[in-house]
């Protein structure tokens, strides 16, 4: 089957493409890109150049390029942006073990609706993804899913922070990174070994940076508000101490470190300094860390309970600055669906997390609207950079990844997000495709939304 996306504003930072043009997809791969008067196409392509006849859209019905009508589907993307499919390198799909919160099927449906074509799922399932058979289960299950699922393995067995997992075997089965997300590795020696050992396989260690002894049983940001609400606080230092520790360990070992969900001004500063020194470190933040302050928990709203907690205005400013200057490479969702009954509880007892896949793009486009990021930078943060960090730009050993992702280069998987930056959408949690309706953004009006998500050549309408 062939698909043509016509007249869209194509953005592909990997090739420096930024212009109006057409994309041709054939058999789930990018076959050709045509930008106004220039052309990027496969050498083997049999489609002839349409240069000589500009008023007629290329690949249109009539098949001047030799494409038969019956096989061709045309998408008019005039006025829309066409960007490489979004890659979310931090989600919780809950399967196996917590299917009442989310399944791979519902989670990937939510991803597609949010404009994501690839999601990377954290290992804190039950059983935990700390061995190849769980990885294999997730991969097998994900074949039913609408988008590509790439599992992240645990760093240590049972996420206990004691013994490393079989990273090589798990990589062979499809793991693309390792993380003890949610239960950070507190033992510095084990973290050092993880950063050293993973070098053999070229996969990153993703660190949830939190000094658990300092957080103790905190449930929100520490400050006047936590005192006022009578809720136990988690100081910014609890994150920053571990960000600094892990940066030092990455420096010591030369390992590949990726810092998850950066939430504080101090962390941005530490990462910026490390990058200046040439440390092999990358970082992500999540939409809620640049969209909401701790004020969101004022009513004891458990939907705004996340870990790390929502911080302050000055942290938001620093995170935006970090996104702008490249200190923060990636916007990920930390999609953490929970059942309604679990969130309808005492604030202390409710689990942390936000169901984020279906609001992430709209919230991130606000940064473009505000002039913090260009649309090109947004495509980098939500597609190219995750692909680069996870090694998805080059063909992967795993049979699961059939071609490069995060790029529209000819021969890549046809993973494409078509978005409208002007369209206004009201967030309706009850209508989420994710099982998790837990969002503090319910009722928000977001400007900008994905219209069509194409995953491995399959076309999905988002609304």
């Amino acid at each position: 089957m062939k698909v043509v996306i016509q007249k869209g504003h194509i953005i592909d930072p990997s090739q420096g493409i930024d212009g109006i043009g057409d994309v041709l997809i054939e058999d789930g791969k990018i076959k050709e890109i045509k930008i106004q008067n220039t052309e990027v196409r496969s050498q083997k392509s049999e489609i002839r150049s349409q240069k000589s006849n500009p008023p007629t859209p290329p690949f249109s019905k009539g098949g001047r390029g030799g494409i038969k009508d019956s096989e061709l589907r045309t998408i008019n993307a005039e006025g829309m942006f066409v960007i490489p499919g979004l890659i979310d390198m931090h989600v919780h799909l809950r399967e196996p073990g917590f299917e009442y919160k989310e399944t791979i099927k519902t989670g990937t449906a939510a991803a597609i609706r949010g404009g994501f074509t690839t999601v990377c799922c954290m290992p804190n399932t039950f059983p935990i993804n700390d061995n190849a058979s769980v990885t294999e289960f997730i991969i097998r299950k994900s074949l039913d899913g609408l988008c590509t699922v790439l599992p992240i393995g645990a760093i240590t067995k049972v996420q206990e922070g004691k013994e490393l997992v079989e990273m090589g075997t798990m990589k062979d089965e499809g793991c693309i990174a390792f993380s003890d997300d949610g239960l950070p590795v507190m033992n510095s020696l084990i973290m050092r070994r993880a950063l050293e050992y993973s070098k053999a396989f070229g996969l990153p260690i993703i660190s949830h940076c939190e000094d658990l002894t300092l957080s103790e049983d905190g449930v929100m940001n520490e400050g006047l508000l936590s005192i006022t609400l009578g809720l136990r606080g988690i100081p910014a230092e609890s994150e920053q101490i571990m960000v600094f520790r892990d940066i030092l360990l990455a420096e010591l070992t030369g390992g590949k470190l990726h810092i998850a969900h950066v939430s504080t001004k101090g962390s941005v500063k530490l990462i910026r300094n490390a990058k200046t020194r040439g440390v092999n470190v990358t970082a992500e933040t999540c939409p809620h860390y640049f969209s909401l302050t701790e004020d969101a928990v004022k009513n004891y709203d458990t939907n705004a309970k996340v870990n790390p907690p929502l911080r302050t205005k000055k942290d938001i400013e620093a995170i935006k600055e970090g996104l702008k200057d490249g200190t923060i490479d990636v916007i990920a969702t930390d999609h953490a669906p929970h059942h309604r009954d679990e969130k309808l509880k005492e604030f202390d007892l409710a689990p942390s997390g936000i169901s984020g896949l279906e609001t992430a793009l709209g919230l991130s486009l606000k940064l473009v609207d505000e002039g913090v990021l260009t649309i090109n930078q947004l495509a980098e943060k939500m597609s190219l950079n995750p692909a680069r960090i996870l090694g998805l730009l080059t063909p992967h050993l795993s049979s699961l990844i059939t071609g490069p992702k995060g790029t529209l280069a000819v021969g890549s998987d046809a993973d494409i997000t078509i978005l409208d930056t002007e369209k206004e959408v009201t967030v309706e949690a009850s209508k989420f495709l994710s099982k998790g309706k837990n969002t503090p953004f319910d009722g928000w009006v977001l400007k900008g939304a994905p219209l069509i998500t194409i995953s491995k050549g399959r076309i999905h309408e988002c609304q």
Binding site: L224, L229, G230, Y300, L344, K345, E346, F347, D348
Partner: protein, 306 residues
Amino acid sequence: MLDNKDLLGIKELSVENINLILDTAAGFKDVLGRDIKKVPTLRGKTAVNLFFEPSTRTRTSFELAAKRLSTDVINFSVPTSSVVKGESLIDTALTVQALGADFIIIRHSSAGVPHLLAKKLRASVINAGDGTNEHPTQALLDAFTIREKKGRIEGLDIALVGDIIHSRVAKSNIYGLTKLGAKVRLIGPPTLIPREMEGIGIVVFHSIEEGLKDVDVVMMLRIQMERQGKGFFPSTEEYSKNWGLTLERLSLAKDDAIVMHPGPMNRGIEISSEIADGPRSVILEQVTNGLAVRMAVMYLLAGVKR
């Protein structure tokens, strides 16, 4: 009339509402001094004490306050309830409401629980202490006691001594007393006083001698033994030596300063017996006033239009 159907905290109360409660309590205090201490004001109403934390003093006070108003009262305490069978908080509260409760008086170890219930229930929710957030009726009875003893609250220097950070009594008093115009100071070790409090116009002292100088009211807080050994203070002996209230230290306050304590006291640790039983102590009057204040709260909440 009060603005809301619930009493969640002093934070949420206007100065007018606080004064209304205090004025109404004065009337009920007269009732309590009579030979027949019961009024038919809220006959036919039902109050439920929903206590998820052990409490004798507060629960008894609410129970008696309800009875003095001719309200039926039921005690629902956790160890005997369905909560241990895994029932959710909301379900427990809805069950109690379905039994016909007009007032749900709740104590819980988690902050914000009364707020959560208030949103879900038609009944009036009265916060009888939620985690380290607030204990509004305690602050109201303290304000009532100070007003009665000193004739005013505005302009008074009031010292709160002890574990501020974990004390819902301290929090509610800080909000209430500052709203009513008092100058509040906090005294205790740095581990037990949140630094952020200094930002909201409150003066912090780590030396009790400096802090007590010329105050009108000394409000002692209970030191919880379980804080010992957790890094807040090394031992109760050391705590007592540095922050316990002795006659010598009390002499630094104004000559007519009163001493308060929400109870239960640790005699010889945060407060010496000579002071607790001495002429400056108003500790037992606080208990009596608690009844009048809780009657006033229930009476006024019953009159709030839904």
